[in-house]
Symmetry: C2
């Protein structure tokens, strides 16, 4: 594999797995007050479009990386939405 491909793959791995510690922290604590709702809405929408783009250009790394990111960032978004609604109700 060429050096620039390795750099690209490492970059993709890091930005994808970075959401794992945040997802674990958020799911455990259920405390999302300092997490920005607009950030996770925009980010999850963007990642979903990256998957559509990956399907268009038939790129498995784009599809796989973004499906993993979608699951991680999506789980954070779900906890954020739940806690936002329950805070408004109480």
């Amino acid at each position: 594999m060429e050096l620039f491909s390795m750099v690209g793959n490492l970059a993709a791995c890091l930005t994808t797995i970075s959401f794992l510690p945040q997802a674990i922290k958020t799911i455990k604590s259920k405390d999302t007050r300092q997490l920005s709702l607009p950030m996770y809405v925009l980010f999850v929408a963007g990642v979903a479009l990256w998957i559509v783009y990956g399907l268009y250009v038939n790129s498995m790394p784009i599809i796989v990386g973004n499906v993993i990111t979608l699951l991680l960032a999506g789980s954070i978004l779900v906890v954020k939405i739940k806690s936002t609604f329950s805070a408004k109700r109480s």
Copy 2:
């Protein structure tokens, strides 16, 4: 512009600007307890490598998008590191 290029550009815009509301929230509140330090360390490192990759393949959209993301996510990381150290000291 072809449809798949538009989808890719929109995806890149969304995932880039998504960090703006989080950066504003974090810089204003200085409260980063629910933000994961490993997430921002891994993410900023990954984004920095994306810039290196963009320079290798000479792709201005990859470079510009990731420089903006680096500034936004980097500013969140700086606030997180500062608050982590000041919390340990007190």
